[in-house]
Amino acid sequence: MARGLAHLSDEALVALVARADEEALAELYDRFGRVAYGLALRIVRDPALAEDAVQEGFMAVWRSSARFVSERAKASTWILTLIHRRAVDLVRREQPRRAEPLEAAPHESGDDVEEEAWLRLRRTRVQEALRRLPDKQREALELAYYGGFTQSELADRLGEPLGTIKSRMFTGLASLRELLAEEDLEEERWNEPRSTS
């Protein structure tokens, strides 16, 4: 980056984007474009559609960044939420009859080794947490998040009352949150010598 935006936090970049700073948007894309595309592809299962979802998602970032409030959410969460919403909108519009959500499959690595390693770490972390969830909760989260199914569609599909689906989502997300926090704690323990106290 010519202006050296690399040292800025995600939140600071969003604040710059709110001032229509295109370089800041580019930097955000460089940070999250790949995860965003991977997520969109897993949901819409078509490279061209996935690109559309990513483009629309980043345009939503561009247009609504002034409304982002950093006390309420991390910028990364906010961006991925916008991408997810676009991808789900697209898959609902394009494929009224969806099959199973695409399982994430192995692929060839990109050339950025550091990014690759970091992404692998994040992925292992969430996979580990998902694995520790009860099957029914994991199923509800995965079908909703990666499959783009609404709660009512899920209730029909799984032959369960809507209330059951809702509560699986609620408990599932709450547990996921705790599991992720536990993993972070564990990691902190490993990194103890580096921590400042």
């Binding site: 604040a15 984007v17 001032r19 229509a20 295109e22 948007l25 580019a26 894309y29 460089d30 474009g33 790949r34 995860v35 991977g38 592809l41 897993r42 996935a50 690109e51 990513v54 483009q55 980043f58 345009m59 561009w62 247009r63 960044s65 002034a66 409304r67 409030v69 006390e71 309420r72 959410a73 991925l80 997810h84 919403r85 789900v88 994430a104 499959a105 192995p106 692929h107 990109g110 992404l119 972390r125 969430v126 996979q127 947490a129 998902l130 909703a144 998040y145 199914f149 609404t150 709660q151 009512s152 209330g163 809702k166 989502m169 609620f170 997300l173 709450a174 996921l176 949150r177 992720l180």
Partner: protein
């Protein structure tokens, strides 16, 4: 939908698993329910982590350019016109009560907007320093206002209050704006000002703004009045 039931939608909301009707209903509810907003924030953070369970293949390099080109052709955040002003058709006390109900929820969403507007303002070199000092104050509470763009900023330590108003049109000829601090149904005159299109007005309130008080603005004849018969055009939420 039953009220108790609607609280359960924060998880499906965070997973984007609501249909259009449910979504609309829940977002409306969200604007009034702090508990659900907190749940949604926590759930969205957890759901956001699910995004990382993908191969994250490299997207085509063309995509980056497509996005940046489209962004360059749209620069809405700086050119968007301010929302239309609403005039209160309520007596002071009623208006204050309404404002009190809405204040808590509007504040968080609004904070980011302010910094944007302050930036625009600095370009105009008007009141920038005063505003910067005010906002830098760690004791400063920003309270949303209704009826105009801007905010009430109160130093919770000293109770000193400033009204920041953006793009408020000039008071009609032979008239002035008058600020009021309203507490316990009593309105104390807190300063006169004239406003002016396309610029920011910073009004230093001559009365302290204690916790729970509301600030309102009326239009009065030149010279101002001690007791207003007018309905306020601007009202703030209650001071923290």
């Amino acid at each position: 939908m039953e009220r108790a039931e609607i609280h359960e939608l924060s998880a499906p909301y965070a997973l984007d698993a609501l249909d259009d009707r449910e979504l609309e209903e829940f977002e409306e509810h969200l604007a009034h329910c702090r508990e659900c907003r907190e749940n949604v924030a926590a759930f969205q953070a957890a759901a956001g982590e699910l995004a990382y369970d993908t191969d994250a293949p490299e997207p085509s390099p063309v995509l980056r350019n497509r996005i940046l080109t489209q962004a360059a052709s749209e620069r809405p955040t700086v050119t968007a016109p301010p929302p239309p002003r609403r005039r209160w058709a309520l007596p002071v006390a009623a208006a204050a009560a309404v404002a009190a109900g809405c204040a808590a929820l509007a504040l968080a969403f609004w904070a980011a907007d302010l910094s944007q507007q302050v930036d625009d303002l600095e370009a105009q070199q008007h009141g920038a320093e005063e505003i910067a000092i005010m906002l830098a104050d760690p004791d400063a509470e920003r309270i949303p206002i209704d009826g105009a763009n801007g905010a009430l900023v109160v130093d919770s330590e000293t109770q000193e209050g400033h009204l920041l108003l953006f793009g408020l049109e000039e008071a009609p000829e032979a008239h002035t704006y008058e600020a009021w601090v309203i507490e316990d149904g009593q309105a104390l005159p807190a300063g006169l000002f004239s406003g002016g299109e396309d610029r920011a007005t910073v009004v230093r309130l001559s009365e302290p703004v204690p916790a729970g008080a509301v600030v309102a603005v009326t239009v009065e004849v030149e010279g101002g009045v001690d007791r207003s018969e007018q309905q306020p055009i601007i009202t703030s939420g209650p001071a923290a």
